[in-house]
């Protein structure tokens, strides 16, 4: 039972992965991608946790701190994540304007017709 955190991370990651591969709607795919992304964040943060530790802000009353390095990596990753999601959403809006739909199969169909 000691690794339940990692198992839940994998379950979340697989739900995100399932949404990305089996849903045709592009906005839904991006939501799936962000679920996947958050599960990776949870994995990193879980690995940095030390039992009995506290938040890595120095204080004379505490001696055990959780690992600050994963926190730094994930903090910047979150903000970069929203920036890339914004680019993805902008692409979706442009695809909607160009094809009139954001369902993957319909886009494929229209592409095939043009060829």
């Amino acid at each position: 039972m000691s690794q339940y955190n990692y198992w839940v991370v994998i379950i979340l990651m697989m739900i995100g992965f399932y949404i990305v591969i089996s849903h045709g709607n592009l906005v839904k795919k991006l939501i799936g991608l962000s679920i996947f992304q958050t599960s990776v964040f949870i994995l990193y943060i879980s690995m940095g946790k030390v039992t009995g530790g506290t938040a890595p802000i120095l204080d004379p009353d505490y001696t055990v701190f959780s690992n600050p390095l994963p926190h730094v990596l994930i903090l910047t990753a979150i903000v970069v994540g929203i920036a890339t999601t914004a680019v993805g959403l902008a692409l979706v809006v442009r695809i909607k304007e160009a094809y009139g739909t954001i369902e993957e199969s319909e886009i494929q169909q229209k592409d095939d017709e043009e060829c």
């Binding site: 730094v72 970069v80 929203i82």
Partner: protein
């Protein structure tokens, strides 16, 4: 242990339920709202895992900005997805196999919370033991973010700036569309309570953002979080009082220049330490006392990050919102 374990399991359980809810829902609006809840839950989980800075960022980014951007995309692309075209069985098979392999892989992982796991033995002890003497800040996350890994953070800031340029070049910013007097993005204008409450709320949000920005050295916070909170206040204003009103207060071209200026400020700090004979982004070159130099450097660098993040978030929102305006303004 038991109470922590219980909280852990409950939050993780909620996360799984929310994720399943997103997967089965056909309504994209519901999915986006659930995704916001999912973000907020993971922020709570980060607090339990002692990652207060991360929780701060996730709560403001995931539950705030990302939900708003997704909703504005939905107004342009439609609320419902086509349920008939999913390749369910193949998806399940692939996901099941990958998941089983990954779970098999976790058997090799060190025990959760182990203080002697390999990940805790390198770098982290150095940061925890020496960062106060070398950098002089109580918040280790800020020391690592802005000083030890300053290169990384510089790169991330450039990525955010680039993403801002990407959105602008994809959705374009046409100044001609803003000549219309009535904006569609002012659906709240008739709600008096919303207007009054947001008018009361916006100044404290802005002050709180400044506090987060400049207190990030001593407590949770910093440029990334402050930038997003600052942007959230401006976005709230734009949503309640209309895009045109917001544009009159905040000039979009100024915002675009600011997004570049933040990166430039960060880079210049690096260049100054370079010219003073130290390595790029070695802040100890900024003052006679190395610790003071670190303080100045981190303050300036975090300011640069904050400016870029605010400016990019605001200009991304403005770009999306003016698209929505143009689309729906044309039909009205």
């Amino acid at each position: 242990m038991t109470i922590e374990f219980l909280i852990d399991i409950i939050i993780l359980g909620f996360l799984v339920i929310t994720a399943v809810g997103i997967a089965v829902s056909k309504d994209l609006f519901a999915s986006v709202m659930l995704a916001g809840i999912y973000s907020l839950l993971s922020a709570v989980f980060f607090v339990v895992m002692d990652a207060v800075d991360v929780a701060f960022t996730e709560a403001s980014v995931g539950a705030g900005i990302s939900t708003i951007l997704m909703l504005s995309t939905l107004t342009l692309t439609g609320q419902f997805e086509d349920p008939s075209r999913h390749n369910k069985i193949l998806g399940f098979v692939v996901v099941f196999i990958t998941g089983s392999l990954l779970i098999f892989g976790t058997t090799d992982m060190p025990i959760f919370g182990d203080a002697f796991a390999p990940v805790q033995l390198h770098l982290a002890p150095h940061f925890i033991e020496n960062s106060y003497a070398e950098i002089g800040l109580p918040n280790i996350v800020t020391s690592v973010l802005a000083s030890y890994r300053g290169y990384d953070t510089f790169g991330e800031t450039v990525v955010i700036f680039t993403a801002g340029i990407g959105v602008l070049s994809l959705l374009g910013f046409s100044s001609g569309s803003s000549t219309r007097l009535s904006s569609v993005i002012a659906p709240m204008s008739q709600h008096k309570i919303l207007r009054v409450v947001s008018k009361i709320l916006i100044p404290p949000i802005l002050i709180f953002a400044l506090y987060v920005q400049f207190h990030g050295d001593y407590g949770p916070g910093g440029g990334f979080q402050a930038g997003v909170i600052f942007a959230a206040a401006i976005i709230l204003y734009a949503m309640v009082f209309g895009l045109d009103t917001a544009r009159r207060v905040i000039n979009q071209s100024v915002v675009q220049v600011l997004s570049a200026l933040g990166v430039l400020l960060y880079g210049s700090v690096g260049l100054i330490s370079f010219l003073n004979g130290k390595n790029f982004l070695d802040y100890s070159a900024l003052a006679h006392d190395p610790l003071h130099g670190q303080h100045y450097g981190i303050l300036l660098v975090e300011l640069g990050v904050g400016i870029t993040v605010t400016a990019v978030m605001v200009s991304v929102f403005f770009t999306f919102a003016s698209r929505v305006d143009k689309e729906h303004g044309g039909n009205a």
